[in-house]
């Protein structure tokens, strides 16, 4: 956890001119509910490039009701492929993350009132390398809608390794641009 926090602070301290805040639906296998918050940085020197590099610390959460909650801390390094004549652009990147999983293992079913009692959980820790591909569309000078597909692997845990797939869609808001720009 401490290392993740340091990584985040490092990312935030980079001298970057473009900074975007992303809020998105983050669906494990598309339909298991989740949400993600990301902070996108583009180093000043590359901001105007056709293919600017981006650094993106992210925090996410996804869950299956009555089964598990997963918390993701991820750093994504990627590139945007822009066409100045178009309002949309592509992006791709590689991520390295950590997932903290809280999973219900058992509980007591009360036969009188039907309630679940004494819910027991196990906690699992995973590393989560991933690759992603996204499509972004400007909806105003300050904001983009985006759709992103991420394929990853939950691994190096006491729990079995498993493939992950996320479908993400949300909005990115440019924190530095003024709305009249």
């Amino acid at each position: 956890m401490r290392n993740i926090a340091i990584l985040f602070l490092l990312a935030l301290s980079i001298n970057a001119s473009a900074q975007k805040l992303g809020i998105s639906y983050f669906g494990h296998y598309a339909i298991l509910p989740g949400a993600k918050l990301s902070y996108q940085l583009t180093p000043s020197s590359l901001e105007l490039a056709k293919k600017p590099l981006i650094l993106q610390p992210e925090v996410g959460w996804f869950m299956e009701p009555d089964n598990y909650h997963d918390f993701l801390f991820n750093v994504n390094v990627g590139q945007q492929i822009k066409n100045v004549n178009k309002k949309s652009y592509w992006s791709y990147g590689l991520g390295l993350g950590y997932i903290l999983e809280s999973k219900i293992t058992s509980f007591s079913q009360n036969l009188g009132n039907g309630n679940r009692e004494n819910v027991e959980r196990d906690t699992f820790h995973f590393f989560h390398p991933s690759a992603n591909f996204g499509w972004h569309s400007n909806i105003s000078s300050k904001s983009d809608l985006f759709l992103k597909y991420t394929l990853g692997y939950k691994m190096l845990s006491e729990a079995p390794s498993v493939l992950t797939m996320f479908l993400e869609f949300g909005i990115e808001i440019d924190l530095k641009k003024r709305s009249d720009e």
Binding site: E64, N67, K103, G112, A159
Partner: protein, 397 residues
């Protein structure tokens, strides 16, 4: 999403139908019906499986005079346990809870009960498939598969502890019903032992195979529509085998075939870690097989031949580790059970409404085949009993 649907939909929908299993189970909740009692006669229940026991339990609540005639020497039907094979009781029959476990409370419908049952959140993380002579990791299937199991009890102990005590005195064992004559107001029931019973209403809860095979001579005969419906459904072979090993060399679940091959057979076949989620260090691996694929197992000449066949199969999967670490096994051949003769309902489910329909409001039907929803499940069988008794007590005749 239950095991049956899981295995089936793997083949057809490539897992799509399995998503959000816990949401789906929450949506499939059924509550027991409110019952208006307009009937005060005598009822005979044929069969002391889940549906028969539950029908008795509900009738008892309404002080209706009834008896249960059970063909075998034990109650439970396809719900059966052994508590001597290993350190935890094992379901030799129905095992998974294919819905939200609060159904266990809803079926009893008694807020004064001060008891609880420990439940395993069954979402096994290690899933493999055996395909083209190779075992392949498919752990991501676990994201689409979720059910529940009893932790240190069984379906049998649930029935035995919370239903049977109320009705034990009303169960008559070893009474094989041979005929039912409902041509007069007083329904006559005869057994192979020559005993005669009479009742105002009868609830038939025998397995579908027994009904199809004509073990019970019903007079007047069943309506043609019902006979046609019976011809459209069947109970294929079914077997369960539990094995103890000295080491844990297997994943939690092994399925056979690829994504598009699993529906090749009409049935289910799965090897699974039967000790998953239990408080034990014992290594218990089990085979659950129903349908065409089960035939080769149920037709083995004896138990030694059966386990030899299975160990040979597992040795192929696991490079000989099964034979090397095998300790002992126990099997339950449901096809060979004289009053069961198969697994659970398969076939054309569109005809089930016809099968559930009572005859002349005198002969009622309950059981897993007759479940209002969730056919082929224990809770479905129990729910069908509630529905049948509700209609019987409404006395629409």
């Amino acid at each position: 999403m239950n095991r049956n649907e899981f295995l089936g939909k793997l083949g057809v929908a490539g897992l799509g139908g399995l998503l959000l299993p816990n949401l789906f189970t929450a949506c499939s909740e059924e509550t027991v019906p409110n019952i208006d009692v307009n009937f005060n006669g005598r009822v005979l229940i044929i069969g002391a499986g889940t549906a028969g026991l539950m029908a008795g339990y509900v009738l008892k609540r309404y002080n209706i005079d009834f008896e249960i005639l059970e063909a075998s020497s034990v109650h439970g039907g396809r719900v059966k346990e052994t508590s001597t094979f290993t350190v935890f009781p094992i379901d030799l029959g129905a095992e998974w809870i294919h819905t939200d476990p609060d159904v266990l409370a809803r079926l009893l419908d008694d807020s004064s009960i001060n008891a609880s049952i420990d439940i395993i959140n069954y979402s096994p993380p290690e899933i493999s498939i055996w395909k083209n002579d190779k075992l392949r990791n498919r752990n991501y299937f676990s994201n689409f598969y979720g059910e529940h199991k009893f932790k240190n009890s069984t379906w049998y102990s649930y029935l035995n502890d919370f239903i049977v005590p109320y009705i034990e005195a009303d169960i008559i064992y070893n009474e094989v019903v041979s005929s039912i004559d409902y041509s007069t107001d007083n329904i006559a029931v005869e057994t192979t032992g020559g005993n005669n019973y009479t009742a105002d209403r009868v609830i038939i809860t025998v397995p579908l195979s027994v009904l199809k095979d004509g073990d019970i001579n019903i007079t007047p005969s069943l309506p043609t529509s019902k006979i046609n419906a019976l011809n459209d459904v069947y109970m294929p072979d079914g077997i369960k085998v539990f094995m103890e090993f000295t080491e844990d060399f297997y994943p939690d679940v092994v399925l056979e075939g690829g994504l598009f091959q699993m529906n090749e057979f009409d049935g289910d076949k799965v090897y699974y870690n039967a000790a998953f989620g239990k408080d034990t260090n014992k290594h218990i691996f089990a085979l659950f097989c129903v349908g065409e694929q089960a035939t080769v197992y149920v037709n083995q000449p004896n138990k030694q031949a059966l386990i030899d066949y299975i160990l040979n199969e597992l040795d192929e999967y696991f490079d000989g580790k099964a034979s090397r670490s095998f300790v002992k096994h126990i099997s339950q051949n449901w096809t060979a059970e004289p009053f069961i003769r198969g697994s659970y309902t398969h076939g054309n489910f569109d005809v089930l409404d016809e099968l559930k329909t009572p005859i002349d409001e005198k002969i009622f039907f309950a059981g897993e085949t007759m479940a209002p929803n969730d056919t082929s499940t224990v809770h479905g069988a129990a729910n069908s009993a509630w529905v049948a008794v509700e209609r019987l007590l409404a006395d629409r005749g």
